[in-house]
Amino acid sequence: MADQYLDFANTPFGRSLAKRLGLPAPVRLRRYEQGAALIPGAAMVIGSSELARTTGELLLGWGLEVRTHDAGHAKLGAIVVVLDDVTTPADLSPHALTLSPALKRLAPGGRVITIARPEQDGDAPELAAARLGVTGMLRSVAHELRGGATANGIELEGSLDLSAPSAQAALRFLLSGRSAYVDGQFLRVDSQRGVLPQDADRPLVGKVAVVTGAARGIGAAIARVLRRDGATLVVVDVPQAGDALAKVANEVEGTALQLDVTRPEAGELIAAHAKERHGALDIVVHNAGITRDKLLANMDAAKWDSVIAVNIESQLAMNRAFKAAGLDQLRIVSLASTSGIAGNRGQSNYGASKAGVIGMVRASAPQLSSGVAGINAVAPGFIETEMTAKIPFATRAAGRLILPSLQQGGLPRDVAEAISFLASDSAAGINGRTLRVCGQSLIGA
């Protein structure tokens, strides 16, 4: 998975050559490390509302150096813009113009985060325009940032504030290196539900998590990250992938379950294994997925049906089985894809299945809305895996370098970080959503 261009572009010669030729200049992203500082510098809070004040207090409480106005020349690790009080597009002006000079001092790997209210049915035209205006501004800022810095937003529904555990958890996630490849996205918090972890570095301690399709690629990375975050793992893959699966199981000190998830009894078998061997089942990551790309004009039943069966029907069936088994406090995270949002040539079957995942989590959320239960999806963009390594060089280069704002493909780990966040109890106030991990790729924009 070595990205030779990324290595080259980060040598002195490579940097100057890329600049002269007008090639993209990707930088190494600031990725999470246990014990590392939350952000690479001070935090600046922009905004005049009560929520802006409590945001500053929260960041102070996290041990950050917090500024409320632009002073000095030190690098800023993050700029949090609190816009919950905008009522008409003109209200954005002072905040945008305060943000403007501060952006120049944002450190490499820095963060711009908006905290605002989502546009909703019943909003007055002025209010709706102001609130949607926030998203347009934020996404454009994300395109503007360089040096591995990202811009993302938190949307707090109703009168929710930062006392909502998921609002705090989302803020911490977006500030940290865990969100390295999340760019131009919004996390919407819809309830006060959620429980913050005792230890932010090991939020999944005591949890039993199942990851399907865990033998390689993104699935193996998910297993590793969940283990790092404290979970006990059950790793699942088809029997034919059992040797690679065993290696992952031994690495994450979990148990290997060789199982084809399209079998009707898959959900029951997974629940039984987790309960009998580990005493519980708290987290399910539906990662197993396949591609059988073909233009629809040339599609055959085997290619179409197998993709639908593995990527979406199996998830629906397993979720029904988990419900029947009385697992009403489950946290489920499914793998969608940007192909499910924008479509992709040659992927009508895959696109159908992945859009299906997005629909499934949205529709399942109301049934998983008590305690810490919940269901969400993560939609990866261009991720460097064995699968994408097979894509022709030029297409791959375009996919990873030109289109995403971060000018590079993501790593399986980046997807895993988002999944670990959504799998945690602290994310229970985020439900039925799909979070893109795509480096702000134009694909699916």
């Binding site: 992938a241 059992g242 065993a246 199981a249 000190e253 148990t255 060789q258 580990h278």
Partner: protein, 432 residues
Amino acid sequence: MGQNLSQNRPAVVIGGNRIPFARANGAYVGASNQDMMTAALDGLVARFGLQGQRIGAVASGAVLKHSRDFNLTREVVLGSALSPQTPAYDVQMACATGLETIGSLADKIKSGQIESGIGGGVDTVSDAPIAVSDDLRNVLLAAGRARSLKDRLAAFAKLRPRDLAPSAPGTDEPRTGLSMGEHQALTTQRWEITREAQDELAAASHQNLAAAYDRHFFDDLITPYRGLAKDNNMRADSTVAKLSKLKPAFGKSLGDQASMTAGNSTPLTDGASAVLLGSEEFAAEHDLPMLANFVDYELAAVDFVSGEEGLLMAPAYAVPRMLARQGLTLQDFDFYEIHEAFAGTVLSTLKAWEDPEFCKDKLGLDAPLGSIDRSKLNVNGSSLAAGHPFAATGGRIVATLAKMLHEKGSGRGLISVCAAGGQGIVAILEAR
């Protein structure tokens, strides 16, 4: 001895793992015994979450063994995900190796000596040790002892071109010069086993094994290896009609009476297996399943050199001794796992147990052991279909039978394995 032990606490079969068995000189070319046994062990560790754990003992072995593998099992453990503080030892008892490791570990558990054990075995014909001839070896040893260049040259001067021919390990019996197949051919003839009966058993083995794969029976018994996910000797479409077309491979001196073919004899095979055993306390403490109790096992050997008994008939003698000790009859079992070295071996053994004369004269019984319900024999296939990597077969059978018994939820299973040198090993498992 067994009776005393069986009064102690039970030794429980928790589960097993093997790599698919591969026909020799095929999928596993380049894999050593150590590679394959490590794969089988690591798959077992992964299945049961034993990473970093200290197991009471790991025992395995290989029939065809390189001199460098003097500490094979310990080296396997050191290369595995188990704690390096896990002791290990090698056993070598021809095809009885695997079951002997499991039996001896079960005894250690029953007696309270250890809480957990992993037994199994491995063999590769594709990576068999090839040694230099005895003459060349003597020359090299003499040269090594030489103190001067002159002495060394004198030692090498004794070398003759024919000495350079390597000596490959054979499956011929050293004392008779007959291959195992030729020995069995005599026994098959002695018991008047028909070609058709042998082909029927072989076809059933393939069909049963294939059906077991189809119902996902092996999903938690096998971990793929080197691109192989199923035993590649298996022919799901095997039939008596197809098998009947094969020419005899053994007993050619018997003329048109020869009945043993490549189809009703096991092929040379590469593979490895491992079985996890524990006390009830160990299983409960680690939330592990308990499939079956390893109740008892028995060894026997026969005088095949003089021709008094067939080479592979020792299990016929071991079983009645074990049954008497346990107060059981041959019919008190729900499953019979009789290793299919050759179809003729299984059928000769069954016929011997039905024969009043044999049971009286050879076994000293008042009445024959009698016949078994053939629908309970090798119901998920056996060595004719799966193949037979010598030392790995015991582990394959124990794990398979333990799972079958657990699925049934009650009853007993009988295991019978013949071995070179006129030896045999048999065992009883009981469902949990």
